[in-house]
Symmetry: none
Subunit: 410 residues, 2 copies
């Protein structure tokens, strides 16, 4: 099945558009599909029509995202309808739904302009939009499938998955299976060197994705090749030991949540340089209240003293970015957070604030459990965002190891 | 001048490719150029030829990146040469340069395969590659310009700038200026309704972008049209008053940082349902330690009681998600956070935990300043992630208004 993606949006703000291409690519991979070509065009009707016509000619699945908003420059509906020679029909039910959504936001008078979003391409199946007002559409024509989806990533993600679900039967014909193998705490180049022979052999079917502190190897094979999957998994286990997380594992914060639940442990986090990122990632997971007590974002030294009771003498003697401070932060986050295990971060995220002794990128990560209390020093490279992400994911790696060591609650 | 970009690389590693699209877009904007269309294709010769032919037909500047490496799947040189009907010529000087680069890396025997990189399209101007081995090429044909550049971002960046430098004279003719106008707290459709006439008039030059709780209007005009920019700005001020943030303003967290610095105020945040997201966004900004004291991620009720001293009776009588709790959280975040102004969030982010009285999406946002203490009720729609984002950005909107009311520190 040949897949093309057309991304409609601003010619200028490619940032937003790229989030979408990544997202779509990831979701398609997990359905065993590859993107053959991706086109990014502005909100001009002629451009959209031309790009869509090209993709429609050559591909079996065409995903068009963006340009379904209410405003004048949202012309995806019209463009696709014109190419397919279908009418745009006003859908009373969708209009009622849109009005309902505005009512929930306490806007009683829905702008007339939003009526544009209630127009549906004749004969299309509607994909409901739970996170916004623009409905998605699934159109079949000449055995080909067209998915029209809105641009905002949070709307797009759910709706693309739902759209793919509708065409599950068609996808089955391609009989590809994708498995994702995850490795934590080992750099990409080392993973590549250690897997050299397998990578060479499976070149056409394999992708390596590098995230902060996590490597994902995406292997796509025909379903008849179960043996190769099995061999590859054995190889991964033998090569990476405890750093190998498994096949199709959930995200690191989810994984930690599962472990904490299994061991019946409660978590608390103390953050300085990471400024809430670790707490945010842990609470991204639904149901995290089951194991997450809370966090102390002691960004200023005053709060390190007042809230986390890091002794003034420690701060004066060793500084906020030190082994001693990280240890106090972890210890007291556990104590005052009423938790069984805790994590702390204190460092210099940059871009300024570094010194020759304590450079930008220096982060002390503390861990406190029933049996252990320690802090480890790291120097991360990259910009502020990258340093913060790398620090937090490194902390999660230490946390995971510590939870695995724990025998659980008595 | 119409510009198209063709990005050649793996069909799957969109992560890497997107970095390039962002980079190219950024460099072009600073030269007053817009990308009209961007195509991402894999390393297949037929695909590359077809995409290049299309772009060449329609555009004045065609930037082709990637596929200039030494390996068998790098076929950009051949593909472009075939479409232009030009020869590939071996360039002895480039080959010597490649050998020199390997020598510097202490590799004396240069792989024969690298000879491919010394082949140059007939009649092209060479763009030197200081960070890698693949040279870039600038080709003029029929008054159009083609830039072939390598894929790695660090090579691409410098070479694109050099390439644009060669065609400076041509670029001067179409100098464009882009300004971004931001509006907070007003839905996209209302913005459009209120700006109907201006939008109609500037349709070709204007894009509207919707973010959570923020609308950006991107206006691109020839530099000779300063008057239109000025008129549009006056119109924005008059139409949206306090909701109009200004031209080319920084992000909301940056804006809040600037305001806090100006008024010499310190901020503290108490978070329940938002779980650290507000703190994370505030501390994304370099230098936020100047005005951000810290945050209390009191995710569990125990910590709401123990850390933020929300009275047991309040939690029992009104529940954690209530006006009273939000007010206590804000008040005590200010007090224990040693701050001048504070914000609190308590709500139900979902997907579970909702009741008919307190549905998923219900969030109480509390604000405490020297003169004010209140909480406001909101019902946000969307999934967990969307609800959390909308709540935090709505909180930032209330915070901004409160800071603007403040007369600053005595």
């Amino acid at each position: 099945m040949r897949v093309e993606v057309i991304n409609i949006g601003s010619e200028l703000l490619f940032n937003k558009i790229n989030t979408n291409v990544n997202l779509i690519s990831k979701i398609l991979i997990s359905s065993g599909l590859k993107i053959s070509k991706c086109t990014i065009v502005g909100d001009k009707k002629e451009e959209i029509k031309e790009s869509f016509e090209e993709s429609f000619k050559k591909s079996d699945l065409i995903i068009v995202t963006g340009g379904l908003g209410p405003t004048f420059d949202d012309v995806t509906r019209e463009s696709v309808a014109e190419v397919l020679n279908r009418k745009l029909l006003f859908d009373e039910k969708i209009w009622e739904g849109i009005k309902e959504k505005f009512k929930k936001r306490n806007i009683l008078e829905v702008p007339e302009i939003n009526k544009r979003q209630a127009y549906i391409i004749e004969g299309s199946k509607i994909i409901e939009n739970k996170n916004g007002t623009a409905p998605g559409m699934l159109i079949e024509e000449n055995g080909k499938i067209i998915l029209l989806l809105p641009g905002p990533p949070n709307e797009l993600e759910v709706m693309l998955e739902e759209g793919l679900n509708y065409i599950k039967e068609k996808l089955k014909k391609t009989k590809l299976i994708t498995k994702i193998f995850s490795i934590i705490g080992i750099p990409e180049s080392e993973v590549e060197t250690k897997l050299k022979d397998s990578i060479e052999k499976l070149k056409e079917n394999l992708i390596i994705l590098a995230h902060p502190n996590l490597i994902e190897i995406v292997l796509t094979l025909p379903e008849t090749e179960e043996d190769i999957f099995y061999e590859f998994e054995v190889k991964m286990k033998n090569t990476f030991g405890i750093n190998y997380l498994g096949v199709n594992v959930p995200s690191i914060p989810e994984l930690i949540g599962e472990l904490l639940k299994t061991k019946k442990l409660k978590l608390a986090i103390a953050e300085s340089c990471s400024g809430g990122l670790a707490c945010k990632l842990i609470t991204d997971i639904p149901g995290s209240s089951e194991y997450f007590m809370g966090g102390f974002v002691t960004y200023s030294n005053i709060l390190k003293k007042k809230i986390l009771k890091v002794p003034k003498t420690i701060l004066r003697k060793y500084g906020a970015v030190s082994e001693e401070t990280a240890i106090y932060m972890a210890k007291n986050a556990k104590k005052y957070g009423k938790a069984d295990i805790s994590l702390s971060f204190t460092g210099i995220a940059g871009p300024t604030g570094g010194t020759p002794e304590k450079p930008v990128g220096l982060v002390w990560i503390g861990v406190c459990s029933k049996k252990n209390l320690y802090a480890k020093k790291f120097i991360f490279t990259g910009d502020r965002k990258t340093i913060r992400e790398r620090a937090v994911y490194k902390g999660f790696e230490l946390l995971r190891e510590e939870i695995l060591k724990d025998e659980g609650k008595d």
